[in-house]
């Protein structure tokens, strides 16, 4: 039996889950049933005929005869919510469900798509009982399905671009309204103000911007100078909205960067087809952050030969596991496949050996670290995390701690155990420390010593995901 969180985790958008809630009443359903493999039922919708809905809760696949383009649709989600709340009786699967499950098993054996249904009703097969991070962020289900015919694909892409452009236009109009009415407008203190915009951006296929909007909502009132932080972020959103509507006239790498920052999804399979960046990659740092209901783990890798940084992301919803295969302070010879654009994100492909330990990235002074950060920010001003490794000491600047050397200082935004550990290890001396630059200060992630590295990056809550 699944949990409610697992049902939430497969929802394509929060809006889909909201749309499903009104359907979680038994009066809207007929022929509900479940067995140890599937859940099925017929939902009375707006059409003349009820929608036949079925879910393979073991292999994780969905089918619904409704015309929705979203998978899973609200009928699937509603039926699963009824099932997890114990409202679906155990019974024997009707013939059409049994044959669907058999067809799924057969196609799973072939590792091919389920072609017994039209594309609009084709399964969205996520791995196991809950989608992996990349299923969430990277449209992995699409990657596992057979691509639609070429004309369909072109039409779908055109429609998607059209929706995205419309969404960006609406975003810019919304930003303009904010400028007119001012940041003191009480509406900004209401989460709904931001959430409604985020939901519209999700509908417009600009999911990354929607996440940005939701993070931005958290800045309102969060600090004494929140107006400045919010204004800066609104400026960047304007930059992205403008750039996103001019994708065709931007240079290739910049266009790629803007597209992915706005929310254009790139399939993992396509990334893995790219030319690999083979190197001995030092795992310099790790940091976990919660974004909405997903835990995000960032591994910062640095090429020993190329000196280039790379970012490997992993995601986990409730009770799922984050990637633990990359260990801070080790190096691994591997093929990295980079996402389009100048950004650092990459996927780890083939690994050519076991991790080498200990390993540490080269460190620079504070001024050189700022140069490194500035180069990346000049290319993509909307980046909000940039890695660097510096040799520096800890200093106190008023009420705030900072990293410093003879050339300059950078404010730290660490607290608690990470700051205490950095302070204890550095004492009054210098240490090599890998950090993330953020607009609000520097987050220390790893202290590199001669014989080992100490991972002090923010760590996911073990009660939420497995993050050992």
């Amino acid at each position: 039996m699944w949990s409610v969180e697992q049902v939430e985790a497969i929802a394509p958008t929060p809006a889909a889950l909201s749309a499903a809630r009104p359907l979680t009443t038994l009066t809207k359903w007929g022929g509900l049933g479940a067995d140890d493999r599937a859940v099925w039922g017929s939902c009375r919708g707006s059409g003349a005929e009820p929608y036949d809905t079925m879910v393979d809760h073991v292999g994780v696949g969905f089918r619904c005869t409704c015309p929705s383009r979203r998978h899973p649709c609200k009928h699937v989600l509603a039926m699963l919510l009824l099932w997890v709340s114990g409202d679906v009786p155990d019974t024997t699967a009707p013939p059409q469900v049994a044959s669907w499950v058999e067809a799924r098993e057969a196609s799973a054996g072939r590792r091919g798509p389920d072609t017994t249904f039209p594309p609009s009703a084709r399964d969205t097969a996520a791995s196991a009982s809950a989608p992996t991070s990349d299923a969430i962020s990277d449209a992995l289900p699409e990657g596992e399905r057979e691509p639609p015919p070429e004309p369909d694909r072109d039409r779908a892409r055109d429609e998607r671009i059209e929706r995205m452009f419309a969404g960006l236009t609406e975003l810019d109009r919304w930003l303009d309204d904010r400028m007119r009415t001012g940041l003191a407008d009480p509406a900004l203190a209401k989460y709904a103000t931001w959430d409604e915009l985020a939901a519209r951006l999700v509908d417009a296929q600009a999911g990354s911007l929607a996440n940005r909007i939701r993070r931005l909502a958290g800045l309102v009132g969060a600090s004494p100078d929140w107006h400045s932080d919010v204004l800066a972020e609104l400026g960047l959103l304007h930059l992205l909205a403008q750039a996103g509507r001019r994708l065709g006239s931007l240079p290739g790498p910049l266009a790629d960067a803007v597209a992915t920052t706005v929310g254009w999804q790139v399939r993992q399979a396509d990334v893995l087809c790219g030319v690999p960046d083979t190197d001995t990659w030092v795992v310099a740092a790790r940091s976990d952050t919660r974004e909405d209901r997903i835990e995000v783990r960032r591994h910062w890798l640095r090429g020993s030969t190329s000196g280039r940084w790379a970012l490997v992301l992993s995601f986990a919803a409730y009770r799922q596991s984050l990637d633990t295969s990359l260990i801070v302070g080790t190096a691994v010879e591997a093929d990295l496949h980079r996402y389009p654009g100048p950004a650092l994100r990459a996927l780890v492909g083939t690994r050519h050996g076991d991790p080498i330990e200990p390993a540490r990235p080269p460190a620079v002074d504070v001024v050189a670290a700022c140069d490194e950060v500035g180069v990346l920010l000049a290319a993509e001003p909307w980046l909000d995390r940039i890695p660097f490794t510096a040799t520096a000491a800890v200093a106190v600047d008023g009420t705030r701690f900072a990293l410093t050397d003879s050339g300059g200082s950078l404010p730290l935004i660490a607290g608690g155990r990470p700051l205490a550990t950095l302070l204890a290890v550095a004492g009054g001396g210098t240490v090599d420390v890998s950090c993330e630059w953020t607009p609000h200060g520097v987050v220390p992630l790893t202290i590199h010593l001669d014989d080992h590295s100490i991972d002090i990056g923010p760590r996911a809550d073990d009660s939420f995901v497995s993050a050992a």
Binding site: D185, H238, L239, A424, P439
Partner: protein, 283 residues
């Protein structure tokens, strides 16, 4: 936006006065809204960036100016002025315990907290200190119990007081903060653990005798899971040379024996204590 062609003579980045003032003006206008106040006229770099765009309304001009200013500020990130590093803690001549001992502490805390007092005491008595990265964890863990706090501070050396000076949240709380320092005798004495009278003779018996008796009783089902707590106490307080032998005897119990699950758990305790004492032997 077109490329910047003019070299700025202003300071751009953290600490730049002109840039800070310009940004403050933008924030002031943004708070009130352009319906009430017009945006400032762009200047310098920002004017270069936005002057070729047609923007009819104040809010549009404001948005363009904000976007350009943020982009320039970010790309021009500069460090703040150099600061004086914090003064270091006093010197501590004691050697740092071996890494395996620090790792053992983590295992003890998560699996066998009954051994932690002895771990700390052995470390202090045998002339070791903990590695610096363990200091915050020890100070955080032992805030309220006066004796354990005192042991932790001894294990950490001068670094403990120095760190608390910078981060007062690591300081002692409750009884540990209010009561006078415990005596050396209190610190050097392990807290008693309840052990039933019929097991007490095993506390001081030879290792091979204890190992044989425990293994036989567990294998035969005379000691079962219900006795786990007192057996844990026994192994945690038996003679220091005995845990290794007990662990070996318990590890030898057949996997099909009904006592195997209990034996394997207690074997881990015995092995942990034996290794702990080896790692923290006299430096």
């Amino acid at each position: 936006m077109r490329r910047v062609t003019r070299t700025s003579t202003q300071t751009w980045g953290w600490g730049g006065v002109t840039q800070v003032e310009q940004w403050r003006e933008l924030v002031s206008v943004a708070m009130l809204g352009t319906d009430r106040r017009n945006p400032p006229e762009p200047d310098g770099l920002i004017a270069d960036l936005v002057d070729d765009t047609v923007r009819s309304t104040p809010s549009e001009r404001m948005l363009a100016q904000v976007a350009a200013t943020v982009a320039v500020r970010r790309a021009g990130v500069l460090p703040g002025a150099p600061l004086s590093p914090v003064d270091g803690p006093g010197t501590d001549d004691r050697p740092v315990c071996v890494p395996a001992a620090a790792e053992r502490w983590h295992h003890i805390v998560s699996s066998w907290p009954v051994l932690e007092d002895e771990w700390m005491l052995s470390l202090v008595m045998n002339g070791w200190r903990v590695p610096p990265d363990l200091v915050p964890e020890l100070l955080t863990r032992h805030r309220t119990d006066p004796i354990r706090r005192a042991r932790a501070e001894l294990a950490c050396g001068p670094l403990a007081g120095w760190l608390v000076g910078h981060l007062p949240e690591l300081g002692a709380r409750g009884a540990a903060g209010a009561q006078p320092d415990p005596s050396a005798d209190d610190i050097a004495e392990l807290p008693p653990l309840p052990i039933p009278p019929d097991l007490e003779p095993l506390l001081h018996a030879d290792g091979d005798v204890v190992a044989r008796q425990l293994a036989r009783a567990i294998d035969a089902g005379m000691l079962v899971h219900a006795h786990r707590a007192v057996l844990v106490n026994l192994i945690a307080r038996m003679r220091p040379d005995a845990p290794g032998q007990v662990a070996s005897a318990l590890e030898a119990i057949d996997g099909g024996s009904p006592g195997f699950p209990l034996a394997s758990v207690l074997a881990d305790l015995g092995r942990t204590r034996q290794r702990m004492l080896d790692e923290l032997s006299v430096s």
